[in-house]
Each structure stands twice: as structure tokens, then as C-alpha cells.
């Protein structure tokens, strides 16, 4: 029988090497796989390229990974937020590189990687500085920019429930980029709030089919970034 269950977050992230490209699910605090990120901080891989919509908040989760000087480059759409302090600090000191990608283009580039599409055209950024240096082309009288797929070595994902085959469901808007990142990474590592038996997720309701998932760890009472920040917590 196929069983993708991994006993701990520590083991789940153990093989992520220095220099890896890592997608991290979540939109702000919602869907952020805090326990996996903290395990990656403990593990210590350096020089990572991280792909996430944002750059973390406070001094926990993704922000703490940046604060621990493990990230050399962020690919994101919105690196500023009300409680984002560590990324701006590192960025202004020239310690971290930023690749700014519009949110829809970021989502579509990740999906393209998962779907085997090396490039596609979009009107987003046409006429702006973000289109500079990009190939442009007209279709049906409108100008479009060519965008390339965006792949990763690993994806760190949080979900509501998973079965041993890696079928996943999410909770509300915590879904966001996660199903796309599962498709686009060579190795997808998932922390699940509940591990259910095989067949425990209705085949009609599966959001991420198990083919896109490599490792599943149960984290039954995950902490939430917003709660940690409200409590003034730091990691490590």
C-alpha cells in the first residue's frame, strides 16, 4: 500500500539542501505552514530562494526564516505588510534579493510549471515598468507580455486534512496558492491538521489529488501566525 505519511516535520524537511528553491503556501497568515517553516529554521538550510505571495509577519514563520538569514531571494507579489519588519530590514541592507511578480502572474506561472507549460501570454504589466525587458506580442489587436513557468525544488504546504495517498482538502481562504504549489514543486511536503484514512476524503471534494504530494505529516493543532504575533512570539 502506498503511504506518504512521514512521522515528523523534522524528518519531512531534512533533505532540503542549501540553495534550494522553496515554495511556501499561504496568503499572509492564512494557510502558512508555520510548523514546517520552523522545522526548516531548525534544519538550517541556507541561500534559499523562497516563493510566497508575501514575506511574512512579525518574527515567526516565513519572517523568522528570513530573519535567520536563510533566504537569499524572495519571489513575491507583496513584500510589504503592516507587520512585516524583517524583510524590509534585510532588503534595505542588501542582504536579500527581491523578484516582484504581480499576484495573478505569480499564480499562473506556478500553475504553468505544474501543467507543463513553459510560457504563456498575459496583459498584466503591459505599459508598466514590470514589463520592461519582457517579450511582448499582439494577439487580436491587444498587447500581451510573455511570462515563463516558475518551478521549485520543494513546496511547504498546510492543509486541513490529508489521507495517506496525499489527497488534500483545505480550509476556506487558506487554500490560496497551495494547490498550485503542490503541482509545481519536485517534492511537495504537506502538514495536515487531520490525517484521515484512505477513502476518508470524498473523491468529489479532493482539491489536491495525491499525485501532486510526496510527504504528509500530521500537525494536529497547528499554530496560526496571527496568534503567535498577537502573543508577541519569536522563533526560534
Amino acid at each position: 500500500m502506498i503511504n506518504k505519511v512521514c512521522p515528523s516535520v523534522t524528518q519531512a524537511v531534512a533533505d532540503i539542501p542549501d540553495g534550494a528553491t522553496v515554495m511556501v503556501g499561504g496568503f499572509g497568515a492564512s494557510g502558512s505552514p508555520i510548523e514546517l517553516i520552523h522545522a526548516l529554521i531548525d534544519q538550517g538550510a541556507k541561500n534559499l530562494t523562497v516563493i510566497n505571495n508575501n514575506t511574512g509577519n512579525g518574527e515567526v514563520g516565513l519572517a523568522a526564516l528570513i530573519g535567520n538569514a536563510q533566504v537569499s531571494k524572495m519571489i513575491c507579489s507583496f513584500p510589504r505588510s503592516s507587520q512585516s519588519r524583517l524583510f524590509p530590514e534585510f532588503y534595505k541592507q542588501g542582504k536579500i534579493e527581491l523578484d516582484l511578480v504581480p499576484q495573478g502572474t505569480l499564480a499562473e506561472r506556478i500553475r504553468a510549471a505544474g501543467a507543463g507549460i513553459p510560457a504563456f501570454y498575459t496583459p498584466t504589466t503591459v505599459g508598466t515598468v514590470l514589463a520592461q525587458g519582457k517579450e511582448q506580442r499582439e494577439f487580436d489587436g491587444r498587447t500581451y507580455v510573455m511570462e515563463h513557468w516558475l518551478k521549485a525544488d520543494y513546496a511547504l504546504i498546510k492543509c486541513e486534512a490529508a489521507d495517506p495517498l496525499g489527497n488534500l482538502i483545505y480550509n476556506k481562504t487558506a487554500r490560496n496558492f497551495s494547490p498550485l504549489m503542490c503541482m509545481a514543486a519536485k517534492t511537495t511536503i504537506v502538514q495536515a491538521g487531520r490525517l484521515v484514512e484512505r477513502g476518508g476524503i470524498d473523491p468529489e471534494h479532493v482539491v489536491t489529488p495525491g499525485i501532486f504530494v510526496n510527504r504528509v505529516v500530521e500537525v494536529s493543532e497547528p499554530v496560526h501566525e496571527d496568534t503567535l504575533i498577537a502573543e508577541g512570539r519569536c522563533y526560534p
Partner: protein, 217 residues
Amino acid sequence: MTTGWTREQIAARTAQDIPNGSYVNLGIGIPELVAKFVPEGREFIYHTENGLLGMGLPPSEDERDLDLMNAGKKYVTAVPGAAYFHHADSFSMIRGGHLDVCVLGTMQVAANGDIANWSTGVPGAIPAVGGAMDLVQGVKQIFVVTQHTTKTGEPKLVERCSYPLTGAGVVSRVYTNLAVIDITPDGFQLVDLAPGVSFDEVKNKTGTSVLPPADNG
């Protein structure tokens, strides 16, 4: 002396122009207030980029779910008939032209429909674009709501934007504290004046010419 519309009145005036049954995305700030002023007999369905169609009001403490937020990262609720989906589906709604109206705040809007609302272009500032460039290219109608001038009195309605663009030639209509103004092939054109505001005042506070209302007679 206060003249013109309050933030709430700008939002209410904007809501008047949104047809019943519209799928609407509201930006942060005054745009959010539009949801408070849906005209009698109409219903709008709100989309939030982070994967929800059918966004409802902010939750009470009891009903708050930390995983249910909007694109501004504020907690929200979902109305009956809502749907959750991932980011590629969400932006397919935007970029595929399925949303009817997007209401956005701005730093500048130009007579040719250009909008600049994501960056001042100041060197060293951290750029952040989010979904703004997707929204302005994809949604069928882009409404801009804004104060007519900056806090220091400079016009926000200009001949050409000096800040980096979010999108070129994409805005349909502008709602300010002074007036409602269309973007036409000939530039800004007055639609409505706020109470107590004269066309001359609007013209004086606009960085380029404003045409008088179209003669609909």
C-alpha cells in the same frame, strides 16, 4: 467650509453605477465602503483575490475563522452561495474578464485612463504590487475612487501620471469628493458635481482640462 462628498458619500455615489447582479472586487480604503451602500433592490457578489466569491461582512469575535480573510488580510465572512477556490482560478476570474466592476483607490489617474496606484517610484522604497496590475487589465470596468487632490492640495487627476503606472488606459470613471468624471477618448469629462461644488472648482483642482457634461438632450 466643507464642500462636496464625504468618503461615505463617494462610496454611495459609486454604488449607484453598479448594476444588479454584478461581480465586484473592492480595493482597500474608500472602495471597501461601497459594500455599505448597495442600492435597494440590487445585489452585488464580492470577489476577493485570495480565493473567495461571495465575501460577506467582517465577523463577530465568535464567528471569526483565522483562515477566512480578504485580500487586505482582514477577517471576513462568506455569504450563503459563496465558493472557495485557489489563486489560479481566482485570477482566471479577474484576467479572463469575468468580473464586472473593480473599485480602486489611487495616487494618480490620468486623462487617458492611465492609473498609478502601486508605487511612488522613490528609489529604495520596497515595491509591492499585489493583484493591482491584474485587476486593472482584467476587470470589465475599472472605477477609481479618490480624494480630488492630495493632502497638500496637488491634483490627483492629471494629464499624465508621474508615478509608475499600474495600467495604461484602463480606467472608465473616477469618483472624487468633488465630482464624478468619465474618461473619454477626449479626456476627462464631467458627469456629476457633488452638492455645493462648482464646475470651476473641479477644473481648478484638476491637473488638466475637464470637458463639460455630454449633452444628452
